[in-house]
Symmetry: C2
Subunit: 412 residues, 2 copies
Amino acid sequence: MTPPNPPGRFRVGLLGNGTVGSALAALLPEHADRIEVRTGLRPELTGILTRSSGDFDDLLERSDLIVELIGGIEPAREYVLRAMRAGRHVVTANKQLLSQHGEELWDTARELGVQLRFEGAVAGVVPVIRVLQESLAGATIDRVHGIVNGTTNFILTEMARTGATFSEALAEAQRLGFAEADPAEDVDGRDAAAKMAILARLAFDTPVRLDQVRYEGIEHIKPDDLEYARELGLGLKLIGTAERIGGGLSVRVHPAFLYPGHPLASVSGPFNAVTVESEAITEITMSGPGAGGPQTASAVLGDVISAMIPPASTPETTQALKLVQDVVSAFYLHLEVADEPGVLAQVAQLLAEQGVSVKSVVQKGMRDQARLVMVVHPVLESRFSGAMKLIADLAVLRAPPRAIRVLEEEFG
Amino acid sequence: MTPPNPPGRFRVGLLGNGTVGSALAALLPEHADRIEVRTGLRPELTGILTRSSGDFDDLLERSDLIVELIGGIEPAREYVLRAMRAGRHVVTANKQLLSQHGEELWDTARELGVQLRFEGAVAGVVPVIRVLQESLAGATIDRVHGIVNGTTNFILTEMARTGATFSEALAEAQRLGFAEADPAEDVDGRDAAAKMAILARLAFDTPVRLDQVRYEGIEHIKPDDLEYARELGLGLKLIGTAERIGGGLSVRVHPAFLYPGHPLASVSGPFNAVTVESEAITEITMSGPGAGGPQTASAVLGDVISAMIPPASTPETTQALKLVQDVVSAFYLHLEVADEPGVLAQVAQLLAEQGVSVKSVVQKGMRDQARLVMVVHPVLESRFSGAMKLIADLAVLRAPPRAIRVLEEEFG
């Protein structure tokens, strides 16, 4: 259906130049080489239409695929429909549009045999749309639980962490860029409701519109609630739910307490996460940053690449990185030593000589010997092994030293 | 490339009839109706080849796609190559084969334009292969961390929970079906190393063979290590890592302690999880059951369906479930009441009359009033609302009652 494009090129027309649009415009040329190797086609941006500049018909004429990041209902809806009717694939991140006019758009895409992809519309780069549509196409889904609004999750995390009121935590979220100047749709649950309408549609093959989703926000949550809940062992999240109930379907968004073992309980700050439950698969949980220009643009770019190629083939190896064997690790070190003065000093001295720096120590006496348990800061493994060999030779050692790596959290 | 199949049918030939194979043979007819609606083609099993029965050429002739679940290197490798050379798509869950002969197979698939899909080879139903190949095709990946062996994760979870030795926890895992009779490849890290070789290949477009992955198992872990680590706030996992290091690539598997905030720290029991890190996207974490017949079969079926259809279109709504509004929830209930005798009794009486059952109560006096915080067992929301209205009218109430839902963990 796509009109013949210039040989070797794949022309992307962009609608919208906000946070996500400008991030995509930067990402596309940066990855053009790799995408060309992968797909055989070189993606190029043919133009950017904004609300104030550009001509849609002209952009459409010169594009193989339209990325809609203009937001809202109109003219986004009209542009998406016109692009598909002209045989173009469309990638969008517009949750309002899909949760209110999804069936019209999906019907059109199916009838015309064009692709309409929308990973960026729900939970940013968390690949929940693709997983529901493709990985789980063969599973009967019972329930989807999601933390699909990063603003509210940040606010609730702050309230729990610092005892702040809702207003104080919202102000902090705004200061850090995790809440918009007008946060109404985020904090009242409507944004999450739109996303759950889309997830419910995909998980249960049932048409679900935003106005059919019951939602409640977090404005009324008091610091007290979080304090008492902690005593009961509970954490608070804004949870979207879509689940089968007695032959029907319930889709709703509301704050809910979670027990510590719940797969969503540990999702904190601006992160999003979605758990999909099915009798056959038990459950899958996916989490990651739920918003942000570069993150959502990365999801959009994944959709663009998918539209460029026939179903995944594993590309040729292009990088052929050299395989490295000696790496940097932090270590836990367990020593059984004689309980006599100066042992810790001897061990510490040997470590220091090899450039191994101690982060924490626990020492416990046991009759005539002691256990010395340390965590050391990250160091090249060969240096740590060198120190271990020297320590093993110490006269005060009562058993071979034991070491286990420690993974430090670098992101997030 | 696929030979003309009978109109409306998609013929699947199955190699192997073990745990996953027999689960797939059950799953396919069960989902045939839904798959036909989704793809326009009705999948049917044309036959099952085992090591002792069936003729491969005959099966190949009558199949549009071959599912290889026979395991090991030969004859699996030969079958997969012959199927692709005959123009058939192939779905496999064979990590040994891919980690030792992957390039040969991927090259063949690419050259012949057939699909070779293998979601089931790594982390069962956790969709890490598809996410790396498709969702993240536009991201530069810096690191992949994975808990990709459920047997070892179960053993380490048991050792931490009960203080058991490695041998005791292994015996328990075998008793519960989470470890095989010969657990050598699981506990020595080789199984995880094969999976990390595959993930590293996909994440970094670099050829990685199993024999290039450095691995260490968990046989030498002592209960002591876990006990001291707990004092230091650490949990122990068998971690596979593939990461860029100074222009090279390190791929390795070893036990490692994790700080509590690490996205993999809360993955317990036989679950698998993979975290993908990239500067642009921060990180995505995916978790779920890492093995099991029905779970892995579900991943295989997702691959089969993907091979049946052109890139995802959103199928027509087929179920049109009725949207349900009144659902069952557990609740947290926060009441500010007069601090006088009989208040708890009054509240408890009203709840009981509405069929609301109390799970836990915290009561605190504050000068002349008290706070009563309860969690109630799951109940139809309309009944709970009824009880709330009656409670709000009690003379002893000093502020409107506050209620927040509590999510209980049902799976896992």
